[in-house]
């Protein structure tokens, strides 16, 4: 079996790629996709840690996996709202480029 730290390293890579994408992409929908990537990195870390915590019994280990389930629901709700805002704004516009929304300063 592959040790937990390798999975955490993979999740760290995915998280960082998502964060870099968030900072460098300009289209709102692309930025949003990068956030999804970051959430998935967190989920991967949770699942890996859940297996590691098998040593502490059923409840401790399964809590990690169940948290992934909850975060999935959070992501779904976030997507509903985020795409709702996108559609509401860009129905009448040509592009989802955040720069056409003038200065979106970070």
């Amino acid at each position: 079996m592959v040790a937990t730290e390798y999975y955490v390293a993979l999740s760290a890579i995915l998280f960082s790629v998502g964060a870099v994408g968030f900072l460098t992409r300009r289209s709102a929908i692309m930025i949003f996709l990068c956030v999804e990537l970051m959430l998935n990195a967190a989920n991967l870390a949770l699942v890996a840690f859940a297996r590691q915590w098998s040593s502490a019994g059923v409840a401790t280990a399964m809590n990690g996996q169940t948290a992934v389930f909850i975060i999935l629901a959070i992501a779904a709700a976030e997507v509903a709202i985020g795409l709702g805002i996108l559609v509401a704004i860009f129905r009448h516009r040509a592009s989802t480029n955040v720069d056409t929304l003038s200065e979106v300063r970070f």
């Binding site: 730290e5 390293a9 297996r51 098998s54 059923v58 399964m62 992934v68 997507v79 559609v87 860009f90």
Partner: protein, 186 residues
């Protein structure tokens, strides 16, 4: 280990695709690839139920919603120049350092993995039954709150999108200023 390396490479390539493809559809499909790879990874981590959910809910429902919106808004490829082009190497550097830092911490704090039998008895493959047990005991309150959260999401999305068209028309034009207030703020 070979399996993990293949999965890791696939997931990373998908992730890099998300942040480099110019066409949103390509980026979204690239993310679907990463999500499916992660689903397989969950199965290798004894989380079968989550693997299935990942495919059905995430790669299925959520990403279809994304693709639908991309099509609906007819989002094309953006212009070539990205935001903060000059800062881009810096962002990549910081991201790389961040990833290296987290990974380093994970390796420094690494603990030996429990034995196969311990994992099997605790997770039992991560089936729906075990997840359900945890969901309706330790996570009972969280489960209720997820209901509230999804309700908020529905109400919010409907409240944003379901407006009468003439109203949108009316506000798209520049806001009119009341007669005695011809100057807007500087």
């Amino acid at each position: 280990m070979v399996g993990f390396i293949i999965l890791a490479i696939l997931a990373t390539l998908g992730a890099i695709g998300v942040v480099t493809f110019r066409q949103p559809v390509h980026a979204a499909l690239s993310l679907v690839g990463t999500l499916l790879t992660l689903a397989v990874t969950y199965v290798t981590l004894e989380a079968h139920f989550l693997g299935a959910i990942q495919v059905i809910v995430y790669a299925g429902a959520i990403m279809v919603l994304f693709l639908f919106v991309i099509m609906l808004l007819n989002v094309g490829g953006g212009p070539k120049v990205d935001r903060f082009r000059a800062l881009r190497p810096l962002a990549i550097l910081v991201g790389g350092l961040g990833a290296a830092g987290i990974a380093l911490v994970a390796f420094l704090d690494a603990r030996p993995l429990p034995g196969r039998d311990v994992i099997d008895s605790a997770l039992a493959g991560g089936g729906a039954g075990r997840v359900g047990d945890a969901l309706f005991s330790d996570f009972l309150f969280a489960f209720h709150l997820v209901g509230v959260l999804l309700l908020t999401g529905i109400i919010g999305a409907v409240g944003l999108v379901q407006r009468r068209p003439q109203e949108a028309q009316q506000v798209v034009s520049e806001p009119t200023v009341e007669p005695h207030e011809e100057l807007t703020h500087a």
